[in-house]
Every structure is written in structure tokens, then in C-alpha cells.
Amino acid sequence: MLIKRPSDIKASEITPEGLYLNRREFIRASSGAAVGVAFAGLGAASLAAPAPAFAQEPLGDVKKGPFGTDEKLTPYDDVTTYNNFYEFGTDKSDPSRYAGRLQTKPWTVKIDGLCDKPADYHLEDLLKGQALEERIYRLRCVEAWSMVIPWVGFPLANVINRAQPTSQAKFVAFTTLYRPSQMPGQRYPALDWPYVEGLRMDEALHPLTILAVGLYGKTLPNQDGAPIRLVVPWKYGFKSIKSIVRISFVDRQPPTAWNKENSHEYGFYSNVNPEVDHPRWSQARERRIGEFFRRKTLMFNGYGDQVAKLYEGMDLRKYY
């Protein structure tokens, strides 16, 4: 049997979305038959319910990027229905339920602050000349679950270099869209809207750090942060800010949404670290979505070889 390393799998070879969506139908049908004896009438009603359709556009020419992993990919179905995106509600199922009404065309990203070439980019112009890569990354949520996701994107460094930050620029600050009319979760102050995030300049320039515009070879579904989001795989998921409308170069550590909400629990760095527990739960282990047994969490989410040197000499208990 020929076993391919997932890093050799091209986006075009990945199971098409239609087949993923059929999985639920299959589960419904097979378990429906088993339980159907007891609940015959209800079973028929449930089988008739259609699966949700995600009309994502193919991204065309996507080359294989570096830093891949040979772990099993988390199914598209799970990546797009189990989301923390409080702009659409605090339940994991809220984003896939309510994100459909978000208009992502047109989309403008403002790039400003301490740089020589600030500009307001239409998304198409920001993407012009960027070679899209597939990056298969682990995603570790601060809530101790994880996924493996084939993102499509390009290094954030490309955008930073084009903007030419000045020598005073030490940090990069990001802002998510604020549009309560299309983001119903923003009508309640679960967080201090708009969502903001930040990286130190060396973190932002790191080759692992990407701006993603797709997953599974297609454009991002809204619930996953369309049309453009950050992916920083060695940090807890909430650092990877979604639906970005502004990227600013600043000289001081910028405020970040979860740190403002609870600075005792969520630090600016928020590097994945099995040795530093969240005050309310252990970070030593995680549940990979689709697996039953918890697995050990890896330092820097397994990207220590690439990023540990960024934090040399820092007390990671203090700078959590």
C-alpha cells in the first residue's frame, strides 16, 4: 500500500468538500438504521434534513508550503462547524450558523502606523503578486482542544516588508471588522469590540506566521475568519485574529482582546506551553478533535525548533 506523507498531498488531491459533507449524511443514515427500530418516525424526519452547503471558491494554483506535518487532517466539516468566533456568538455552533450574512466583498485592509508606505488595500490588491501556499498547521485552542488544518495563505512578512515599517516599529497590531449589523455577537459586550491582537515584530516576521485566505484549497468560510486572517501556529488559537481590517505598526506592546478581558488568564504572548497552566485548567494535555484520548501538548505546539530562540532568556511563566 502506498502511504503518502500529508506534506506531499496537494490541495487538489484532498477529498472534495462534497464528500466531506456527505459524511454526516452517512452517519445519520447508518445510525438511523440502528436506532430507527426504536424511533422509526423521528428517524425518517432526521434523515430528510439537508446538510449545510458552503459555497467556497477554489483558490486555483496553490503550491506546497514548508513546515508541514504528517498528522491526520481534521475534517472540513469539523473545521467549519466548531469555531470560537465571538463576533457571531459564544456558542461553538454560532459562527457556522450566523456567519453567512457577513458581506466580505468588498473588503479593505488598512495598513498604517510607523511605516513608510501606509495604504488602504482592496483585498485583491493586497493579494496581488502573493504566491499562495498550503500550510498544514496544528491549531491549539487555549481551551485544550486542537485540530490539524490545511491553510492556504502567504507569509505575513511579505505584507510587512512591502509596507516598510520604520525602525521605531516594534510591534504589529491587528483589528477585526466591527459590524454589528452582520456580526450579531457584537451586539453584546462579551469582549471589548472590536477584537484586537498583536505580535512582536520578530514574531510577525517569522516564516511560520501567515495571513490565511483559505483552507482545504478554497476560500475561507466566514466562520473561519474570511476573507483574511492571521495564523500563528505556536500560539493559542485566539492570537490568530480573524477577518482583519487593519494592520498597524506601533512602538509599544498593543492591547489584545483577551488580555483586556482577563489579564490574569490571557497574556500578550500566549505561546502554547504545557508547563504553564491556565489558572482554571491544565494545559498539559489536549483533545485532538476526532480523537477520544487526550494527548500531551507540545511546547510551542511542536514548533519549538523554529521559534524557541525568539524567547531565549525570557521567563515564560511571567510572559505567558
Partner: protein, 215 residues
């Protein structure tokens, strides 16, 4: 059929089935693959919420009976309380078996170090003696007064359960706030009953004294 027979033969079985329905519906969703990508989280949240709901429903029985005067309400209290214990047990088992799979090292650490788990675990432990002494034989053995005193632990258990939920959520406290508000109302009604009873007793005493003075 008398009212007592109707309650025993029709209403009580109906309430029993209704109380079991959330559990059956959860099983159904699990079998149909309708839980989320993280089914263990769904099961944990669902059983936890139903534990709190049944604690609230149980605590509503007495105020309801006294405010409406419908005495048969009391016949449902034990069953509803045992359902709170049933869902609480499922919630704890979900954590120990499905979530941690008997990783005692981590479980003990959680119970000792994580305040929300300490409180939640305590709230569950407090329900155990109540479930064990819920039989008529145990009520007779303990004597009504001592039994009633012991069963006031349910207040602590309910408070612990709400605090457990409040301390667990990350940012959106609307749901735990709703439970806290309901619990406060249920406890406030009891305080009001006590105050009113004391006032009535004082009133009775005053009336007797007045009669004595007049006599």
C-alpha cells in the same frame, strides 16, 4: 379516579418520562452524529446544565405548593431531586470517564487546584447523602426533623453548582447569571416564608396577650 390516584398513575409517570427526555434526546443526538466536533464537550455541558435545571425545579416545588396551595406538588419533589442527582452523576462520569479517562493524577490535581472543579465536585458530593436518605424508610429512621435539617444541604449544593458554572465560562456570563438569578429568587422566597411565619407567630402571641389583658 381520585385526584391522588390521578397524580400517582398519570401525572407522576408523565413527569418521570419528561425528566428523562433530555437524557434520551442527548443519546439520540449522539447516535445520529448530531453532536458537535467535540461531542464530549457537548455531553459535559448538557448534563451539567440539566443538573442545575433539576436542582432549580426541585427547589421550586415547595414555594409553588405554598403559593398555589396545590398540596400534591410535594409528591414530585423526591423524584425531581433524584433526577438532579442522576444528571449530576452523568456529568461527573462524563468528566471522569469520557473527558479524563480515569487519569486520576490529573483528576485529583483538578479537584485540588481548580476552584471551579473543587466547587462543582463539592456540590456533587453534597447531593450524595440526600440521594441516599431519600427513601421513606430513611426518613422514618432519621426522624422528620433531622431529615429536613440534613436536606437543607441542597441549598449549598445548588449554590455550589451555580458558582461552578459561573467560574467556568470564559467571558459570556449571561447563562450562569440567569441560573444565579433564579436561585436567588428561590432562596429569597424561603426567607420571606420564614419572616412571615415569625411575624404571624408574634401576631398570635400579641393577640393572646391582648385577650389576657382584656379578660
Amino acid at each position: 379516579m381520585t385526584e391522588a390516584q390521578f397524580v400517582r398513575r398519570v401525572v407522576k409517570p408523565a413527569v418521570f418520562v419528561a425528566a428523562l427526555a433530555p437524557f434520551l434526546y442527548l443519546l439520540w443526538r449522539a447516535a445520529m452524529g448530531e453532536l458537535s466536533a467535540n461531542p464530549i464537550e457537548d455531553i459535559t455541558l448538557t448534563t451539567g446544565r440539566w443538573t442545575l435545571r433539576f436542582l432549580m425545579i426541585t427547589l421550586a416545588v415547595t414555594p409553588l405548593r405554598r403559593l398555589t396551595g396545590w398540596q400534591p406538588a410535594i409528591r414530585f419533589r423526591r423524584m425531581l431531586g433524584l433526577f438532579a442527582f442522576f444528571y449530576g452523576t452523568l456529568h461527573l462520569l462524563t468528566y471522569v470517564v469520557l473527558d479524563q479517562f480515569f487519569a486520576w493524577h490529573y483528576i485529583l490535581q483538578d479537584v485540588a487546584k481548580r476552584p471551579y472543579i473543587t466547587v462543582g465536585f463539592t456540590a456533587f458530593v453534597l447531593m450524595v447523602p440526600l440521594a441516599l436518605t431519600s427513601t421513606s424508610a430513611m426518613i422514618r429512621r432519621l426522624g422528620g426533623r433531622r431529615w429536613a435539617l440534613l436536606h437543607r444541604l441542597v441549598y449549598l449544593s445548588a449554590i455550589g453548582g451555580v458558582v461552578h458554572y459561573w467560574w467556568k465560562v470564559k467571558a459570556d456570563t449571561r447563562d450562569p447569571f440567569a441560573y444565579a438569578a433564579i436561585l436567588m429568587a428561590l432562596l429569597a422566597v424561603r426567607v420571606w416564608f420564614v419572616v412571615r411565619k415569625a411575624a404571624a407567630r408574634r401576631g398570635a402571641v400579641t393577640a393572646v396577650e391582648a385577650r389576657a389583658a382584656n379578660g
